[in-house]
């Protein structure tokens, strides 16, 4: 393995991490996007631009070597968090600490060098690959930028090795192909290879198998888990599919309208969820077994608009357990059980 490019950090930038086991710490991160309004409206509301609260005061940690799931429905803010973790978006408030370094304090150059250690894999591999670049060129692109100590031949050798590692054999045969010449599953393998070439510690996988065919998904997931062991990776696994998350995640965080509802070890969350939203979400997942029947009633309505989220607990208008104070007091995320966090005032009632 070639050496990872060193990242310029001084003592000031290196924050004490609470545990050596921790790779990413997200602290009270928020991201508000201003809403585009017409000229008249913006003159009327000067200094008071409405915003979409895509991510609202979110905190969690990702441990080294784990698969941390981030799940929620569309518009919950899960992809935005993924981008905030990589500082592909600047946070409105809060900070992201990666391996002891506060990313917000890094300069452009330092951040660029840091990027070698954190990579992202998107949902659509065809959109992620330049149609005019061969697969080899695509993988070489980040290698050229980050692995400056390697010669052209050494880089080529490394790309062959990585192509084999993602199951694209014989690697030499694939090097000069273009993205349109291979299947969707193979494209996602190439995207993984490109993410791996700089030897990252963290991979943010944003719905990495959602576009793949059902019969191809299992192999892709299996590959991702093998690569995790082989390259000592940590994954932030973003998904809307709770059934898939079950097969890969060690811990999971459930998002609703930009806020965390529940965080905990996967098994604890799935077997005894301590937030009514998680409960409904798990119950709603279609089960591929005709003898299984859903028994519980589904919550009313749909996810409200993130420009004007309901006051108090965002979930209260749909919640079967809601009391008067739920529409006033915002529930903090608290540790109800060891390592199992909930943001519900009445979570105790859900304990079995």
């Amino acid at each position: 393995m070639p050496e990872t490019p060193s990242v310029g950090t001084n003592a000031l930038q290196r924050e004490a991490s609470t545990s050596t086991n921790e790779l990413v710490r997200v602290e009270h991160v928020s991201k508000f996007f201003p809403v585009q309004t017409g000229l008249f409206a913006s003159l009327m509301n000067r200094g008071n631009v409405p915003s979409v609260r895509a991510v609202d005061d979110v905190s969690f940690t990702i441990h080294k070597g784990e698969v941390f799931g981030l799940a929620g429905e569309s518009g919950s803010g899960k992809s935005t968090i993924g981008r905030l973790v990589l500082r592909l978006l600047e946070a409105t408030a809060g900070k992201v600490i990666f391996d002891g370094v506060d990313l917000g304090k890094l300069s452009g150059g330092e951040m660029r060098r840091m990027r070698a250690r954190m990579q992202i894999v998107f949902q659509d591999p065809l959109a992620s690959l330049n149609p005019r670049m061969t697969l080899g060129q695509a993988i070489d692109h980040p290698a050229k930028i980050h692995l400056t100590k390697l010669s052209t031949d050494e880089r080529k050798k490394r790309i062959y090795d990585i192509l084999s590692a993602v199951g694209m054999n014989p690697a030499k045969a694939f090097y000069d192909l273009y993205p349109h010449q291979i299947s969707g599953g193979q494209r996602q393998r190439v995207v993984l290879a490109r993410a791996l070439v700089t030897n990252p510690a963290l991979i943010v996988a944003d719905e990495p198998i959602a576009m793949a065919d059902v019969s191809v998904r299992a192999l892709l997931l299996d590959l991702m888990m093998k690569l995790k062991e082989e390259f000592n990776l940590t994954y932030l696994f973003i998904t809307h599919d709770l059934a898939t998350a079950k097969y890969v995640c060690n811990r999971i965080a459930i998002l609703y309208l930009g806020k965390l509802c529940e965080v905990g070890p996967l098994r604890d969350v799935y077997e005894s969820s301590v937030h009514p939203y998680t409960h409904a979400l798990l119950e709603a997942v279609p089960v591929p077994d005709p003898t299984h029947r859903r028994t519980e009633a589904m919550p009313a309505g749909e996810i409200p608009n993130a420009i004007n989220p309901p006051p108090g607990c965002h979930y209260h208008p749909r919640c079967p357990m809601a009391r008067p104070n739920c529409s006033v007091d915002e529930p903090p995320l608290r540790e109800l059980l060891p390592q199992h966090f909930t943001a519900c005032h009445y979570a105790e009632e859900l304990l079995k």
Binding site: G185, V285, P286, P288, H292, M298, I303
Partner: protein, 333 residues
Amino acid sequence: MPEDILYSIRHLTVEYTTRAGTVPAVDDVSLDIRRGEILGLVGESGCGKSTLGKGLMRLHTGPAKITQGELWFDGRDLMTLPLDEMPEIRGAEIGMVFQDPMTSLNPVQRISDHLTETIQTHEPEVSEKEARKRSEVLIERLGIRRERITDYPHQMSGGMRQRVMISLALALRTKLVIADEPTTSLDVIVEAKFLDLLKELQKEFGLTILLITHNIGVVAEISDRIAVMYAAKMMEVGDVKDVFAQPKHPYTQGLLRSVPNIKLDGAELYKMAGAPPDLSHPPAGCRFHPRCPFVMDICKEQTPPLEVIEGNQLAACWLYPSVMAKRQEASHA
């Protein structure tokens, strides 16, 4: 045609003309849709399930063309009708619900206009007032408040828009609804509620629904029967309970074991080798043979016909004697 069959598709082939030659997206497919059932049509992307769905209404234009087959709907072969008579069947007798309701609804028309226009086009004798009244009753039944009928599509949520699509299909007492990935753009909780609604409508209106989806869980939840397509071919058809308990075709076997199940503990996902073939160069014989764990010599040469394996369960696989029998007939002839 037996009384209980609403739609009988016989040997349907739909081909796309491309620069690389003709690609059969649906290749000699036969399927019966029974009155009052929900039939789940599943398959991976590009297997031809949506092309088949459109074929049932003869909706193909441009490069796609039905090159072979009969479409027996409620006693007559739609293929023998002049194409300009099809609009009377579409909407009135067969309704369609697509994946993305936003592209199916006119953004500058109110929901009420969509509904009254649909009713009055097919039933010109109905007055504006009466059509409006019928529309209001209908959307209320589907769980949308009466006042919302004057909304434009963008004012509604995704789940409500999909309910509007269903109401358009129901406005004319449609016999068959073809729903192509109706819940794919919906979030799971909304999806669950929409599926409950479909099931209720099936019972209440005696509706027949062809549910086209890639989501095996959705089929398990509400379908009575399931049809499995792979690379333009029908692989297996049967009652949902039978097929899930004992899938006959190796593709179905692999597919069902590779679907994540949130309720199942400990089981590993089955990792099917390979990927679906490129239909412009499909493999000879059985389309699934390059990925099949039970492949035999005959599979590489001859295409297996869809035959009854057991009870109501059909499969197209040389592993079964009833399918093998057809091969012998062919070689003697």
